[in-house]
Symmetry: C2
Subunit: 328 residues, 2 copies
């Protein structure tokens, strides 16, 4: 992974170091229990290639001892043969990633040596207090031959001293990229600027790059993603139509139309929306900005309360706010 | 109107010069042909007072010679008696505004002297080439005793020389505030920064303030509004649930939760959403982010093509894109 950042990130220019990662199946999988049809996955793979997307995340590498494969779609586990059934040997410029949660992945067994896998990159998702465990995983994956990122979740709940200490530990690890993750959709662009600068300073000093993964609780996922980009973050997560847990993510179609590198093209993604996303919504998948997510966002809370509120078809927002305040 | 801006607009502080304007009935009226029930309007008026909103725009002062009152709801015309039926003498801190379009308003007749009206502010909406006509209206309204703003529409289509010339003319007028208007939802935050600084420099030098009115085509209305605010813009437009033409506007509930002045409170607005906005959507009013508006936004086009596309229940986005490109 290149660590070279463009000096001047102006709107009309583009920076070759910027990479886009599609995590529709991973974050969107949390919406529909990973029940994507093979046609959906094949078409998304082709759309991403045509659109110039750099990485496509197929899902999680979850432990089959902790999670019953009968209860989830196959992309919760991302078996090697399931990915290959879609991509073959992946003879394309699109790289493939999977996510491995600290404590929820039998990684020693389930992450194969790179030479036996079509996967290019493993993303380690960690809470701040799990960073030592995350580093064990990072080193294992690097030794196996993968590109590796680390995604520190729920940073809006982490105090600055702990974050600084965690970032320092990660800077000393072999990880290629460190992700700024706004799990709760809490941050405003001006906070993202500050955090992005902090992450970029620490990462660059140790030859790493920084990524951003934003949530749309306050309709700021896209704005925060391009704000981070403006401040040197170079690995940008997005999902088609923003599909992702709760309020969802940065919209891929917006991000690609923003980026000026001529290799990016939002049209194949918009065609994919027409063919698949309208249907998936009609069939009942629910995500995207709504008042309950605004409330969890501004109150810096996990979206699960809002997800259940919406699932129960409740609209008593005042009561939800009270419930959230009681949980603080 | 105070021209004094806060020096340091940090997130945790607040600036007493910031004012919030609710234009749900005016921009939202373009969605439902101004057919709001009296209960809706009365509840919105009360919600705005409780929420600390500074101005509430009731609608347009449209010419009854050009527009047949039988074809529109009453808030297209904002008769004095209709406003008074809601607010009485408006014994509240909430000020009342109306919009007057250049060339579509019999303003000499229809805008009464302030002493005979419960309206506090008139907002003059103008295209760049109409600025001399706008200035005639501004001077008339100022003489009649109103606060007056001027809203230069479709700025994303205006070349910089013309904009500079127009702003200079307006700086010499008696207008109190000049609005930066992103009619097509075209601008990214970094462009808003640049424009906001330009407007603020010119306005402050002549003792005026600057406002912002954003559209949500790229889901950036809220982000652009707070970005403008960060750069000295002090009159912030928003609508409940973003209700407004096409992709709609900056969400009032997001904006109020962002602002740190303790006088602002988003809860009365969220209660209003629960009571009225869910119903108005169920009854068929359509607005808000959607792919067709993304396309008109990124192509810097008027939203009307997208509005018709959605009204016709079309989803052939590729064809829409082609149609929009052919119109360039």
């Amino acid at each position: 992974m290149s660590t070279k950042n463009c000096n001047e990130r102006t709107l009309m220019d583009y920076c070759p170091d910027i990479k886009v990662l599609d995590c529709t199946m991973r974050d969107g999988g949390l919406v529909n229990n990973f029940a994507f049809t093979d046609e959906f996955v094949k078409d998304l793979y082709q759309a991403n290639i045509k659109a110039g997307v750099d990485y496509m995340e197929f899902g999680y590498k979850a432990s089959k001892e902790q999670f019953d494969p009968k209860e989830f779609g196959k992309w919760k586990f991302c078996n090697e043969e399931d990915i290959r059934a879609i991509v073959g040997e992946n003879d394309s410029p699109l790289k493939i990633s999977v996510m491995a949660d600290v404590g929820r992945c039998d990684y020693k067994k389930d992450i194969l040596p790179k030479k036996d896998s079509v996967i290019d990159m493993v993303r380690v998702a960690t809470y701040i207090h799990q960073i030592p465990a995350a580093i064990e995983m990072i080193e294992d994956f690097k030794k196996k031959g993968y590109e590796v990122t680390v995604n520190i979740m729920a940073v809006s709940k982490v105090n600055t001293d702990d974050l600084d200490a965690g970032l320092k530990l990660l800077a000393r690890s072999s990880v290629d990229a460190i992700y700024l993750v706004d799990s709760f959709g809490y941050f405003y662009p001006e906070q993202i600027t500050k955090l992005a600068k902090k992450y970029v300073d620490i990462a660059e000093a140790s030859g790493k790059v920084v990524g951003i993964h934003a949530h749309n609780n306050q309709q700021l996922a896209f704005a925060n993603t391009i704000e981070a980009c403006r401040n040197g973050v170079s690995l940008l997560d997005a999902t088609v139509s923003g599909m992702g847990r709760g309020a969802g993510n940065c919209f891929m179609e917006s991000l690609l139309s923003f980026l000026k590198n001529p290799k990016y093209n939002e049209t194949p993604i918009i065609d994919f929306v027409e063919k698949h996303m309208l249907k998936i919504k009609e069939e009942g998948a629910v995500w995207g900005y709504d008042i309950p997510y605004l409330l969890t966002g501004i109150l810096n809370s996990h979206p699960s309360t809002a997800i259940n509120f919406i699932k129960d078809k409740r609209t008593d927002y005042g009561k939800l706010r009270q419930e959230l305040m009681d949980m603080e």
